[in-house]
């Protein structure tokens, strides 16, 4: 059994697979990265059993989503982060949008220092960017700027570039970057579960059609308390059992 896709989801699935195999000796599980696009393409072609993805299959062109079955295994919250030197700790959603569409270009326009804003975006087509843009940009086009494709690189760049802004999954926020509050809502797990903090997405594990016995066993394990209550938290994700709201592929949130 092979699971391929999202690099963000890989550590979680990899560790869960190791634990699962310890008690189910017969199962042979391989977990690899490669990106959400790779995961979706390969599961659609039937080359792998599980395709890990940061985005809904419906949101990816070229994927026949009705052929795939979605298994949501975790929720990841994302937050805008800035270099601490900017002096900003809270902004409004509209300001955030204007920064990423290039309308606001200096931190003093949002109450910070007189410093040029340098936007660091994520790779086009990456799940993180899709989540952020759908929650923040309201369909507007982001300004063309630096792009980095991994949380680690973004974290290093934001912490070292004066005036930098980007966004990171919660688990990559450290003391060298400053996570912004939006409209005085803090980026916490609790705010995500109630959708007070709106920038979050599911981590999906897709199968082609209904999963076979072995795959189903593992997916059940992913959904069990063993994984959801300990591993998921350790890796900085939010358990899907804690969510008080749901979001569909069109970004409509229901309680």
């Amino acid at each position: 059994m092979t699971a391929v896709g999202s690099t963000a989801l890989q550590p979680l699935v990899e560790q869960a697979a190791q634990d699962y195999q310890a008690s189910n000796k017969k199962v042979n599980l391989t977990v690899q990265g490669g990106g959400s696009g790779t995961g979706l393409s390969q599961v659609q072609q039937g080359a792998v059993q599980i395709g890990n993805s940061d985005i809904f299959a419906e949101q990816s062109s070229g994927i026949k989503a009705n052929k795939l079955v979605d298994h949501k295994v975790a929720v990841v919250g994302m937050t805008p982060v800035v270099n601490p030197s900017t002096g900003v700790t809270n902004i409004s959603m509209a300001q955030l949008r204007d920064i990423f569409t290039g309308k606001i270009t200096n931190w003093k326009q949002v109450g910070g220092k007189d410093q040029k804003i340098s936007v660091i975006n994520r790779a086009q087509g990456s799940g993180t960017r899709a989540t952020f843009e759908s929650a923040v940009l309201e369909g507007k086009k982001a300004v063309t700027s630096q792009e980095q494709d991994s949380n680690g690189t973004v974290q290093k760049l934001v912490s070292s570039t004066p005036g930098a802004i980007s966004y990171l999954a919660f688990s990559y926020v450290n003391d060298k970057v400053k996570a912004l509050s939006i409209g005085n809502v803090k980026p916490t797990d609790k705010n995500v579960t109630t959708n007070k903090w709106t920038i979050w997405s599911y981590e999906h594990m897709y199968t082609k059609g209904q999963p076979n016995k072995a795959t189903e066993g593992f997916l059940k394990y992913m959904n069990s308390g063993k994984v959801q209550n300990s591993l998921v938290h350790k890796l900085g994700y939010i358990s899907i059992h804690d969510m008080k709201v749901t979001k569909n592929a069109k970004n409509v949130v229901t309680k």
């Binding site: 070229g62 087509g125 990456s126 630096q146 792009e147 690189t153």
Partner: protein
């Protein structure tokens, strides 16, 4: 009669051995050629899908400046203009080669003519060691040392062509140096002796005899270095900034063919335009690599030292 005839006309043990040898070596070369053809075919077939399946015009691809394969522009055409990446790739490659060449030739001269004993003993292993440093490590040092340094000097983000050039300069230095050493060593000693016997100083010998005699092979060395720089991905990706914008100067973020390819290939769905467009970038890289190699071959042919 028959016995003797057989003995004389049948292939000898030696010639049978020769046939075995030929078969073995021909099989190996055939296997390699199949490998090469399969990868060439593979990249070409995927790379031209942008033009055949998605009907993007080649001209638009090569001259457009907007790269946003997922979305359509006002006219309903996909935005796949690779010009900024082509320009940046060439800029970093040429700049890195320009900076690295004087250093490489100086080191090579040092090793062959100025201090051959200590130079070769000490420098050679270190330069070979540099080849083995993974590109990730170069990129990481670029990100934590070079980019902040440039930002400190010029402001802005620090990422851009200059940072890419510096990282590539160090990465191609060993390639160019070790090939230049070979080039200089290939110049027969009697060229040097003759020049010195005429009363020329060491520098006159180097400048007027050595460098000229070795020129074609030195050029080859430089082009080899450029080919390496052109195809380098991970290290460049970390320092170039990855913004598909025409480079306005040396310190604004921009993107090379390889960095765009590496960044986005995992996020695209196979068979769709964004994925095909990336393979077209790979095709450009492949064609350029062919061009570099043809150049090397042409120069190499002209410059063989006849003795």
């Amino acid at each position: 009669m028959d016995e003797i005839q057989k003995k004389l006309t049948a292939p000898s043990k030696a010639s049978r051995e020769d046939v075995t040898g030929r078969i073995i070596s021909y099989t190996c070369i055939a296997a390699i050629i199949i490998l090469v053809i399969s990868i060439l075919y593979f990249i070409t077939s995927r790379g031209i899908a942008t033009f055949t399946t998605n009907h993007v015009s080649l001209w638009q691809f090569l001259s457009g400046k907007e790269w946003n394969p997922g979305t359509l522009n006002a006219k309903g055409q996909p935005q796949v203009g690779a010009l900024p990446m082509i320009v940046t790739s060439f800029s970093v490659t040429i700049l890195a080669a320009l900076v690295a060449t004087p250093f490489a030739i100086a080191v090579a001269l040092f090793m062959t003519d100025i201090a051959p004993k200590n130079g070769a003993k000490f420098l050679q292993p270190v330069i070979e060691l540099l080849v083995g440093i993974p590109s990730v490590v170069y990129g990481f040092i670029g990100l934590t040392v070079v980019v902040p340094f440039i930002r400190h000097l010029f402001g802005g983000t620090g990422s851009g062509i200059l940072a890419g050039t510096i990282v590539l300069f160090v990465m191609v230095l060993p390639t160019i140096t070790s090939l230049s050493v070979d080039a200089l060593r290939a110049v027969p000693t009697y060229f040097r002796s003759a020049s010195l016997a005429l009363g020329a100083t060491r520098f006159q010998t180097i400048y007027k005899v050595l460098l000229r005699a070795a020129m074609p092979r030195l050029l080859t060395a430089v082009i080899f270095g450029m080919a390496r720089a052109f195809g380098e991905a991970l290290a460049v990706q970390m320092v170039i900034g990855n913004a598909v914008l025409m480079p306005r100067n040396l310190v604004t973020p921009t993107s090379t063919l390889t960095s765009q390819l590496t960044t986005n290939i995992g996020n695209t769905i196979m068979g769709t335009l964004p994925n095909n467009a990336l393979w077209s970038l790979a095709l450009i890289l492949l064609l350029m690599s062919l061009v570099f190699n043809l150049l090397i071959r042409c120069i190499g042919k002209r410059g063989e030292i006849k003795s």
